[in-house]
Every structure is written in structure tokens, then in C-alpha cells.
Amino acid sequence: MAQNDSILKINNLSVAYGHVQALNDISLDVKRGEIVVLVGANGAGKTSIMETVLGANVPVSGDIEFKGMHIGGVPVDKNVRNGMFLVPEGRGVFSSMTVMDNLLLGAHHNLKNSTEKLELVFESFPVLGERRTQVAGTLSGGERQMLAIARALMSSPEMIMVDEPSIGLAPIIVNDIFEILVNLNKEGYSILLSEQNVYKALKIAHRGYVLETGKITKSGTAEELLNDEAVREAYLGA
């Protein structure tokens, strides 16, 4: 895979909610085939970046390019159609709806081939297949996270944004989820990940950005960030 071909490119992006400036002059990129991690404390702006890329927020200024197209102000449904999907913070699965319905919502914009896609998903996540008629509210936290990831796959994305998948999960389940992400990446999906579980995230990522109160303060390869004094001190407790 051509490593210098960006699937996502953000230039000087600023986002505000009313008077709250959430993102300040952010620039970053995700290359095809990469896992890029956004690292930052609560309120740093990780979710804001992802939701703005997705089209759920309108930027104040700056430019977002996805697959070479300018997508600032493009609504979510168009962006999903174009090949991106968000696995939201807290999973965002619909508890009152069945596993099957949740999966089909991922393919809402294009139900063609959804039967084949479901088969593939059930092959990768047998537990979801077993529970397809169960409502999502009865799933465990780890299963819900799997469902949220599987729902993203149903949309046939090229880039998946995964917002703090490890939140509220036992360490062993976090490992499973990260392994799933690594495998998806190997299959060719580009991944933008946000995490507070910095060590594990950097272990699976190619590159990372450190975010502090809406600004990028550091960036580099995962290796570089893992060995960075300041990063180690602030996020790795070393």
C-alpha cells in the first residue's frame, strides 16, 4: 500500500460550540493503510475531531480532505456513503433494537449486498451471529463494542474512526478489541483511533498525535511517542 497517499487530510481546522473553542488550528493526516492514534486527556478534542470529519459538526475554519475531496460542511450521510464511518464513544449501539437491526443500520445508505456483508461479519464475530435476534441492550460491554465495530464494517468503509473503544472494558477485553482493530487494518482499512489508554494504543498504531485543549502539541511515529520523555511522563506514568 502506498504509504504517502493520504486518505484523510485536515488543514488548520478550528471548531467551536457556541463560545467554547474546542479545536484550534488542527492539522493532521491519515495515510491509506495506517492506524493513527489521537492521544489526549478528557476534553482535549478527540471526539470533536472525529465528529467534525464525519460531518456532524460544521467547522469554523480550516479544510478537511477525504480521498482528495473537500468535505467541510458535507453532511454525515454523504460522508458515510463516501466511505467513512465512526464507531462512537460509548459504542452508540441502539439498546432497544436487535443485533441484526443495529448491523443493518450501518448499511442504511446501501442495503445492496447486505446479506453477503452480514455473513462476513458473522464469520468474523460469531458471537454476534449467535445473538442476532437479541436486543443490543442485553450484550456485554465487549460485545457491544464488537457490534459497534461490526456495524461500521456493514457500511463498507475505507476509513474507520474509533473513538475511545477501551472505555469501560476490562484489560483483557481491551486486548481483544485492539487485536480486532489490528486485523482490520491488515485487511486494508485505514483507522483513526482515539484513546486514553495511551500505551496500548501506541503499541498498535503507526503514528500518533498528542492533543491538549484543542491543540496538537506533539506528533510522530508511535515508536517516537512511546519513547518521548514528556509523553511518558504525562500519559504513561513513567
Binding site: 453532511p75 437491526d101 443500520l105 442504511h108
Partner: protein, 295 residues
């Protein structure tokens, strides 16, 4: 016993009207997030339009089409008003939609009582109601009219269709997703405004069909009918549990049967009061609704 059977059948037909109205109200509440308790007033308005078309053209078919069309049109015309305040769902107060609905109800009721038939109740022709053909089934004291059978059958079919649409189709899935979590629905790429409009169109069709069934079953309408039904629909949906579609189905039918039994055994003119007293007792016992709110 015969009276009981007859009244239960009566109750089921009027109950299926309540069910249709409550389902429309709940759909708007869940999907478009508006409290449209004047929805039944729109339905009565469509009865009037249907009557006008029948009177002018002499054609029952055109009247039916006109009634259904007018419900869809009224719903779609008023949708932007509701959508305007619902654009920013996170921060909007859903109660504001109630004020719009109330205003709409008042305007429509006033129009009906001032401009149509000099304010007198309207009566639908026998060609629609089938009243001139006598009872369809008549055994002893039990007599069941064509109108009752028609209302019950179409009512049941239409509610079944709605449930099929909600639980088995793409649009229905989007409706349910928005009903559970509008923001989550937006993040998976469901266009909120467009889907909201679809729910207006759907409830428009629902309202139109209900208007025609009411014309067939009741044979007449007055300007105050919409308000009266509006109160009942609101009460039924709260007692069932706001937004609870299955609950609305059950309570709607039960209210119909309750009223019919009161009319059969006690004083007919007291049926509203007694029905509301029963509902009052139920709501005191189950303040969150018998089947639980889905909001």
C-alpha cells in the same frame, strides 16, 4: 350476553379509530420529536374536506381521495414549522412544539366552526356510510353495520401495516433508531430532517385513512370532534406510556370497549365522563403509564 357481544364489537370499531390516532401521535412524538396533540383535529379537518368534495362532486371516491390527500398536505405544510424549532434537537424544548400544535388545533377548529356548513355538524352520504343498506349481520339484539366491519378490518390491517413498516423495513429501522437516540442515529448517517419529513408523510396518510374510516363509522362530524378526540388520544398515549406503540394499541382498544359498554349498560351521555374517571384512576395507580414510556 347479546348486548355485551354487540357492544364489544362496537367498542372494537371505535377503539381501532383510537388506535390509529394514538399511533400517529406516537410516531410523530418518537420520530419527529413533536408533541402533536392536535393531530386528531387535523384528521377531523380532513373529514370536512372529504365531505366538501363529496358534496361538490357527488362522488364518494373523490371524497375519499380528497380526505386522504388533505391530511397529507396539512401535515406536510405544517412540518417545516415544527422542523424549524426541532433543527437543533440538543437544545430545543420539546414543549415548544406543543404550543404550535395547540395553535394549529385552535385555528383549524375555528375554521371548521365558521366556514363549513354554517357551523352545523356535517352528515356523510349513505353511499359512503352504507347506512341505507341496513345491518350487515343481525342476530337477535346483535346488529353489526357495514361501517363497523369496514372500520375494524381496515383499522387492523393499517395498524398491522404500520408495525410491519416499523419493524421490517429500512425506513422503519431509521424511525426506531431516531426514536431511541437521535444523536446516535445522526452519527450512523441517518438524515434526521429527511426522516422526520417521512414520518410526517406517513402520519398524513394514516390521518387521511382514519378520517375516511371515521366518516364511515360515525356518519357525521362537528367542529368540536377534533378537540374531544385530541383529549382522548393524549390520555390514551399517556396511560399506555408515551411513545409505547403496542401499549397504545391495547389501551386504545380497551377505551373503545369501555365506552361502548358504558353506553350499552349505563347512560350513553355519561360515557366520556366515566371513561375519563376510569383513566384517572389508572393514571393514579400507574403514573408512568401501564406499559411504560418509550421516550
Amino acid at each position: 350476553m347479546e348486548i355485551l357481544i354487540a357492544q364489544i364489537f362496537n367498542g372494537l370499531s371505535i377503539g381501532s379509530i383510537y388506535v390509529l390516532l394514538v399511533t400517529g401521535f406516537n410516531l410523530l412524538l418518537l420520530v419527529a420529536m413533536i408533541i402533536h396533540f392536535s393531530f386528531p383535529v387535523v384528521v377531523v379537518f380532513s373529514m370536512y374536506i372529504s365531505w366538501v368534495v363529496m358534496t361538490l362532486t357527488g362522488s364518494v371516491t373523490l371524497g375519499v381521495v380528497g380526505g386522504i390527500a388533505s391530511a397529507i398536505i396539512v401535515n406536510m405544510i405544517t412540518a417545516p414549522m415544527f422542523q424549524h424549532i426541532m433543527k437543533d434537537r440538543g437544545s430545543v424544548d420539546i414543549n415548544a412544539t406543543m404550543v404550535i400544535s395547540m395553535g394549529m388545533g385552535m385555528v383549524i377548529t375555528d375554521i371548521l366552526s365558521h366556514t363549513f356548513n354554517q357551523g352545523f355538524p356535517i352528515a356523510f352520504p349513505d353511499a359512503l356510510t352504507g347506512n341505507d343498506q341496513g345491518a350487515l349481520i343481525s342476530v337477535g339484539l346483535v346488529s353489526i353495520s357495514r361501517g363497523q366491519v369496514l372500520t375494524l378490518v381496515i383499522g387492523v390491517l393499517f395498524v398491522a401495516f404500520l408495525f410491519w413498516l416499523l419493524y421490517k423495513t429500512r425506513a422503519g429501522r431509521a424511525f426506531r433508531a431516531i426514536a431511541e437516540d437521535p444523536n446516535g442515529a445522526k452519527l450512523v448517517g441517518i438524515p434526521l430532517l429527511k426522516t422526520g419529513f417521512q414520518s410526517y408523510a406517513l402520519t398524513g396518510i394514516l390521518g387521511g385513512v382514519t378520517a375516511v374510516l371515521m366518516a364511515v363509522l360515525l356518519g357525521s362530524a362537528s367542529a368540536g370532534l377534533g378537540d374531544q378526540l385530541g383529549h382522548k388520544v393524549l390520555a390514551v398515549s399517556i396511560i399506555a406510556g408515551l411513545g409505547n406503540l403496542t401499549g397504545g394499541l391495547i389501551i386504545g382498544l380497551l377505551l373503545g370497549i369501555l365506552e361502548a359498554i358504558i353506553q350499552g349498560y349505563l347512560a350513553g351521555s355519561w360515557s366520556n365522563a366515566i371513561a375519563f374517571i376510569v383513566m384517572l384512576v389508572v393514571i393514579l395507580a400507574k403514573p408512568k403509564g401501564v406499559f411504560g414510556s418509550k421516550l
